[in-house]
Amino acid sequence: MNLAVLCSTMRVQMKQSFARPMFRFCLIANPILNTILLYEMYRNAGEENFMAYVVLGAGLMGLWGCICFSSAGDINRERYSGTLALIFATPASFPGIILGKIIGNTLISLLTLGISLLTAVVLYQVPLTLESPLYFLLALLAAVLSFVVISSMVACLLTLSRKTELYMNCIEIPINLLCGFAFPVSVLPGAVQGISRALSPTYAVELLRMSVWGVNDPAAFWNKLGILLGLTALYALLSALLYRRIDRRVRIAATLEVA
């Protein structure tokens, strides 16, 4: 993978994404609205630290929304603007280009966490504490890595189909619900929790919440981090295998372009 390709793709992606009004809505308005919604939900729920569910929940929902509608949606935008075929046929590695796009989008989308925090502080002046900042930083890095890998897998699958818009709408809300962005996974029915446990963002959210409340049991933190990194590695492996297969499949099925 070429570093110049990765970095230039990240730069181009950030410029392009920020220029789109829909992306700016997802990035700025979405976390503000989600923060208001979650604050109203949790106001009388007995939760004293609004950081864990309101700020993190709204921020992560915004982050995932940006990723869905950008990392995934970009495949479709590029397909319809005729540039998907152009980038595919260059000597640069196609997975490397897609990775650059996803990293660019994810980095810019991290703003949602800040916006959600700012909204809670400005609008509600509610107690917001972060008990274990170092653990939080570590959990955030692992969460970003997990989001990058999961979006890379999704983007890769979406190159195969022209129904990208349908699929990206289908994955946004279910991931919010299944991974417990706005409430603990334990409130979900048992069978559904099984699905949640197979999704890496579930562990990322739990790690972030643990560090917000304070990590009293470091062994539990490291254990969860191990599961998150293990699942992320598994997704990365699946992604690499998929890309190898998809590189041939898209040319057989002719899905790089629209007629």
Binding site: V5, S8, G82, T83, A85, L86, A89, P91, A92, E257
Partner: protein, 254 residues
């Protein structure tokens, strides 16, 4: 002279399915057993009606589509399976207004594609400047492409197609959307490429352009080759290449 493109009995079928429960399978034979070769340094024309299979053929040659059957070799390598060896050495230009990042400037578009074509940084900026002058976009190089006219976008496409100094340039109706001056500029660029020993494979509906530029050509209809030779050979006793073309296509379709 060395062949840089070899196509033997090339076929491409598109299969699509319609319906939710009783999925109806639709098969379209876009390219149906065509053969031709292109020599190094030639300007080669690919002519035919809309839907004749020209674009599909080009897409197989530029490694974007897999052939269903037959041989499709570019610079001695299979376009499906050995694409990595081909991609650095070729480029392509599609007609129309697609294929540029409209929210980037011409310079940023070219910088990005030069990175994707793995062009060393020290060569990059000088090359971009030269190409921008060549396609007459130097004055507007830093404006966003979304503010460009149709012709300017097409010229940006041409610039992108030249960014890696390709040995073979594939052009699919490159003069679509160009005004007469733009079309002449493109013809000059094609001639200059030939002088530099580059190979050009060109599809167009402008038969005067074919007569003016192409060394040899094939005419395809419904996925099959119906004529091949130099423009003079194909014209034969007819008044113009256009008359010969119309007679050939009507003869085959009758």
């Amino acid at each position: 002279m060395e062949s840089v493109i070899e196509v033997q009995n090339l076929k491409r079928t598109y299969i699509s399915r319609k319906g939710l429960w009783h999925r109806e399978k639709r098969v379209v034979q876009a390219v149906d057993g065509i053969s031709f070769e292109v020599r190094r340094g030639e300007i080669f024309g690919l002519l035919g009606q809309n839907g004749a299979g020209k674009t599909t053929t080009i897409k197989m040659l530029i490694t974007l589509l897999a052939p269903t059957a037959g041989t499709c070799k570019v610079l001695g390598c299979d376009s499906f399976g050995q694409e990595k060896q081909i991609r650095k050495r070729i480029n392509f230009i599609f007609g129309g207004e697609m294929g540029v990042y409209r929210r980037l400037s011409a310079r940023d578009n070219l910088r990005y594609f030069s990175n994707l074509y793995l062009i060393p940084r020290k060569e990059r900026d000088a090359r971009i400047e030269k190409i921008l002058k060549l396609v007459d976009l130097a004055d507007r190089a830093d404006d966003l492409a979304e503010t460009y006219s149709k012709g300017m976008i097409q010229r940006l496409q041409i610039a992108r197609g030249l960014i890696n100094d390709p040995e073979i340039l594939f052009m699919d109706e490159p003069t679509v959307g160009l005004d007469p001056l733009g079309a002449r500029m493109l013809r000059d660029i094609i001639r200059r490429l030939k002088e530099q020993g580059k190979t050009v494979l060109l599809t167009t509906h402008n038969l005067a352009e074919v007569e003016e530029l192409c060394d040899r050509l094939i005419i395809i209809n419904k996925g099959k080759v119906v004529a091949r030779g130099t423009p003079a050979e194909i014209r034969g006793d007819m008044e113009s290449l256009e008359d010969a073309y119309v007679k050939l296509i009507e003869g085959v379709s009758a």
